[in-house]
Amino acid sequence: MTRLLRTLALLTATGFASPALAQDTIVLGVSAPLSGAAASWGIGTDWASQQAAKHINDAGGIKVGGKTYKVEVRSVDNKYTAGDGMKTAETLISRDKVKIFTQSVGTAPVKAIQALTERENILLFTSAWGRSVKGPSFPLTFTIINTPDEVLAPIYATVKQRHPEVKNVLMLNPNDASGQDTAKDATKFWTEAGIKVLDSLYFERSTTEFQPIATKIVSQKPDIVDLGGTPPANAGTVLKELEVQGWKGVKVIGAGTGSDVLVRTGGTAANGTYMGLAADFDGPTATEVQRKLNAGAKEVLKESLNVIHMGGYDGVMAAKAGIEAANSLDPQKIAEALPKAVFDISYGKAAFGSKDVYGTPQQLLIPIVVTQIQDGKTVEVVRIVPDELKKRLGQ
């Protein structure tokens, strides 16, 4: 409850209706689910974003045109829906004069917010998956985590190489924009890898009983089950049910993020699972910043950070880099300056790129990591630093 009291104190201090701000503060927006079934994504993202703001302020703030600004992150609950995403984003934009959203989670709300931000000249950083949110028609949108185009080809290739006998795959995804986009991309990449897609199933995010789905999967006898964008807690439950019902095959979670929750829910059934987004922020390849953040999150949130949470931190850092590179607070100028900049984020030095894939350089270049659960531990199987990033860093 201490956080609650602190927030209350803060609100009382800053006034009632619209928290007034000191002149030299930049307000950054975060739009993420803070309630409901996906709340843990939003709450972790909010926390990581606040940490980034603290780091920046502790280090003296952001300098623009000779003036120093403090930053403040305001997170709003998009409830994972387009409508609430839109409404809360409008409040941040029109009331709090937010010019940059440093992280936005959930494809449906992000698509909604994007319609607004692109029109009103506002910068949007997002972890939304789909190709449909990127490209030349969205010059002010930047993606700050790896997405199917980066991750899927390497992970599927790894699976194919280690299990040459597999012929077909069955996919399960949450029934929403994120899941549908994932399924679409996954179908493409599996087919390119020479694997037949038997079926592509969906489930509602609020589902708690996965037995009927598991029965359905098992009856089709797939060689591989790809849980795509299924959140780790649900994925673990599905894997456990699959094991109970006697299925033994190759387990893949293309867009799998948190591995400790997966292990806790799946138990031994999670062993052997390949994941595309499950960076281990405690492991030997994690940076110092990531390890510290992760330790902090475990203490405060009782949860390890995942890639989407980390996107909250990286979004704020990228925003700072963009502002300083442009030496301006104008989103247009920042968007022009960002692709040229090389800057510090939680992964170390990073930059935006991938123009050859998307048509515009708006994809954050960070290491692509394929991990596998082995005896309950997350083990890196493949680690690819994008060639483009190497080039930009002069390696």
């Binding site: 708690t208 029965t215 439950t237």
Partner: protein, 294 residues
């Protein structure tokens, strides 16, 4: 794997928890004539308490896991009773037999309690280690020993509730009040205290369901919502206030979920249930098992 057997096994294990949850809801309706939309929050609370205690108890006590589970279950019911007493005294007592007032109160409670639960338990999904391991085959349908244990417990609790209602003085009073409040009051039954006990038993059933589901799934503060919608369908089909109706409805809903979830998908299954409810209401507005009114 024999498909029919597997689907039936699925039905039984899904249904047993639905039945418990819906029993509480229908009992509260019968006695208080309100629909407790906050029922899911009691479910969530119990699930969260079990999910939080299990990993703590095991190393601290060094007892067999099933003993830990029983302790956690008792603690969960304790928490539910405390919350139930508070919400009754502060709120529901004033909204007995007021459908609209209690509805809005319970919806306010949903929002409020979810906020509080996120604050206390965090939004992180919490799994629980298996209490017993192993898989058992029933006529070719496979079920974990864990789930079998849960099903057995759910059936036991349902039977206990049934016995309490049929045999005890309190149970008879509860049924009398549900049947005809005024007649019951004429016989000297104190409605207010009876409705309080009815409420506590009702929310405890939700709590039991939540505590039992905790080892089978991952618990987080929003977990009750999915069960709530299913439970509404169950009690409409079974007839509001009808105990046998809730049992029948719970198993029917689980069967539909199991079969249609297999052949189509779970959302289609839910839509089918809703359509079924519409048809039921058309044919028999008082539900399948409801009393025929003169």
């Amino acid at each position: 794997m024999d498909l029919a057997a597997q689907l039936l096994v699925n039905t039984l294990q899904i249904g047993s928890v639905y039945v418990l949850f819906a029993l509480g809801l229908t009992l509260i309706f019968g006695v208080m004539k309100i629909v407790n939309f906050a029922h899911g929050e009691f479910f969530s609370l119990a699930a969260l308490v079990v999910a939080v205690l299990m990993p703590v108890l095991a190393p601290a006590l060094g007892l067999p896991l099933w003993v830990d589970f029983l302790i956690a279950l008792a603690a969960a019911i304790g928490a539910v009773l405390v919350l139930g007493t508070l919400t009754y005294w502060i709120g529901f007592e004033r909204y007995l037999r007021d459908l609209v007032g209690s509805f809005i109160l319970s919806v306010g409670l949903i929002l409020f309690l979810q906020g509080v639960f996120v604050e206390i338990f965090t939004a992180t999904p919490r799994p629980v280690e298996p209490i017993v391991t192993g898989t058992i085959s029933i006529f070719g349908g496979r079920i974990t020993a864990q789930r079998l244990l849960i099903v057995a417990l759910a059936i036991t609790f349902t039977a206990m509730l049934y016995l309490v209602l049929q045999r005890t003085k309190l149970g008879k009073a509860l049924r009398a009040v549900a049947e005809d409040r005024e007649a019951a009051m004429l016989q000297g039954i104190r409605y207010r205290s009876i409705s309080f006990y009815g409420w506590l038993i009702g929310v405890s059933m939700a709590g039991l369901a939540g505590a039992l589901i905790a080892p089978l799934t991952v618990s987080q503060p929003a977990i009750g919502g999915d069960y709530l919608i299913k439970a509404f369908i169950i009690i409409i089909i079974g007839g509001l206030g009808s105990i046998p109706g809730a049992i029948f409805g719970g198993l029917l809903v689980a069967l539909i979920e199991s079969i249609f979830g297999y052949y189509y998908d779970l959302t289609i299954a839910t839509i089918i249930m809703f359509v079924l409810v519409m048809v039921f209401l058309l044919v028999r507005p008082q539900g399948l098992m409801g009393h025929v009114e003169r």
